[in-house]
């Protein structure tokens, strides 16, 4: 059997397109990676489940992590997916973050954070849009502060419903006190 010593550098695609951006710049100041596999699939980089990274991970491509990462992840213009096997103990900054595995640390996304079923986040989330599925674990705070001024479009009478239409008619309430 081949026993390959994987290099720290990302694997070069077999036929790299000239215009294709480089794989994520992985800087690992305190790197103690045991083994690391990266597969380039278009612009989506996959970090396999046997990979352990300690340090700073940054790049300009979408990234899927199935392994363990400790430190800091920065993909400010791209989508970060924590796969079902992924375990992250890091500060995360990305355009969008999809969590199917475990994240311990604060998550900041400029567009959306999506914690899927069985996904877990222990930390504070900052994002204009947050979706937490039934069955997901979340512990922390969610900051969905609007960046601009308070939206004027906030009619008290007709806010968007969060779920399906009510199944029962509105029963009149009895006012007890005021």
């Amino acid at each position: 059997m081949w026993k390959r010593d994987e290099s720290v550098k990302p694997a070069t695609p077999p036929a790299p397109a000239p215009a294709a951006p480089a794989a994520p710049a992985v800087s690992m100041p305190a790197a103690s990676s045991e083994r690391r596999t990266q597969t380039l699939q278009g612009e989506n980089v996959n970090i396999g489940k046997s990979v352990i990274i300690k340090g700073e991970l940054s790049g300009s491509e979408d990234l899927t992590i199935e392994g363990n990462v400790e430190g800091r992840i920065e993909l400010k213009e791209n989508i970060l997916t924590i796969g079902p096997n992924g375990k992250i103990r890091a500060e995360v900054f990305a355009k969008s973050v999809i969590v199917l595995g475990e994240v311990t640390g604060n998550v900041t996304a400029s567009e959306k954070v999506d914690i899927r079923d069985n996904g877990s986040v222990d930390g504070d989330i900052t994002s204009p849009r947050v979706a937490i599925a039934e069955g997901a674990h979340f512990r922390g705070s969610v900051d969905m502060q609007r960046s601009g001024a308070k939206a004027a479009a906030k009619p008290a009478a007709a806010p968007a419903p969060a779920a399906a239409a009510p199944a029962a008619p509105a029963a009149p309430a009895q006012k007890v006190g005021a």
């Binding site: 849009r129 599925a133 502060q145 969060a162 779920a163 199944a167 509105a170 007890v176």
Partner: protein, 225 residues
């Protein structure tokens, strides 16, 4: 030919109908298979109105994490929400047979500085606590709420032997869906309205509603400093 055209139309119509039917489940929630009635709420809209005047308010939700609620309040208020699941705290103490430590626990439960929170969704957690623990929790909540901040509390009107908690899922500002899940012990003795008011010393009752679901919805506002 006409027959075949009709047959084709029917066939296409059949496919079209099926496509619509198949696409529907994706739009509904995962628990749509078990229909849950939605119950009217009178106080939620008022609670939202209290916070909408505030720029980027800070909100604490004492219920379990409900993703759609987080999204709802985030989008309605543009707020910072912290979910502090009090039911899990109670469960933890029951399992450790340490419910007598709950008052001390709640006295130091919240890391927020005094008068730093704009709104608290208390739901019905006080119903699951005995009097000293409920008082300790109410005092802590009053402390962290800013002057004129709002607290929404639900209180049962009668005894219940069902060991279950209730998740309150916001359907819209006028409706909530109640979803029950198991608890280690049922609600404790129902609190009298006067006792509830005394428990939240330093706050005033802004609105109080007795709903047909036998829930008293009470909206408190903290007195100005």
């Amino acid at each position: 030919m006409a027959d075949s055209a009709r047959t084709m139309t029917e066939w296409l119509g059949f496919l079209g109908h099926r496509r619509t039917a198949e696409s529907e489940p994706a739009a509904v929630t995962p628990h749509a298979s078990a229909p849950e009635l939605s119950h009217p709420t009178k106080s939620l809209q008022k609670f939202l109105s209290c916070l909408q005047a505030q720029e980027n308010p800070v909100l604490i939700d004492l219920g379990p994490v409900v993703g759609s609620n987080v999204t709802f309040f985030g989008e309605q208020l543009g707020c910072r929400i912290r979910v502090e699941d009090i039911a899990s705290d109670i469960e933890d103490h029951i399992k450790r047979k340490a419910t007598d430590q709950l008052p001390a626990f709640f006295a130091a439960r919240f890391p927020q500085p005094p008068a730093s929170v704009d709104g608290i969704l208390c739901w019905d957690v006080l119903d699951y606590l005995d009097r000293p623990a409920a008082q300790a929790l109410a005092t802590s909540l009053t402390t962290i709420l800013r002057p004129d901040g709002a607290l929404l509390g639900f209180f049962g009107t009668g005894e219940s032997s069902q060991p279950q908690y209730t998740k309150y899922i916001v359907v819209d500002p006028q409706h909530l869906r109640y979803r029950h899940y198991p608890a280690s012990r049922p609600r404790q003795r129902a609190l009298l309205t006067g006792d509830i008011i005394r428990m939240f010393k330093g706050m005033r009752v802004s609105d109080s509603f007795l709903m047909k679901s036998n829930v008293r919805e009470m909206l408190f506002r903290k007195n100005p400093a």
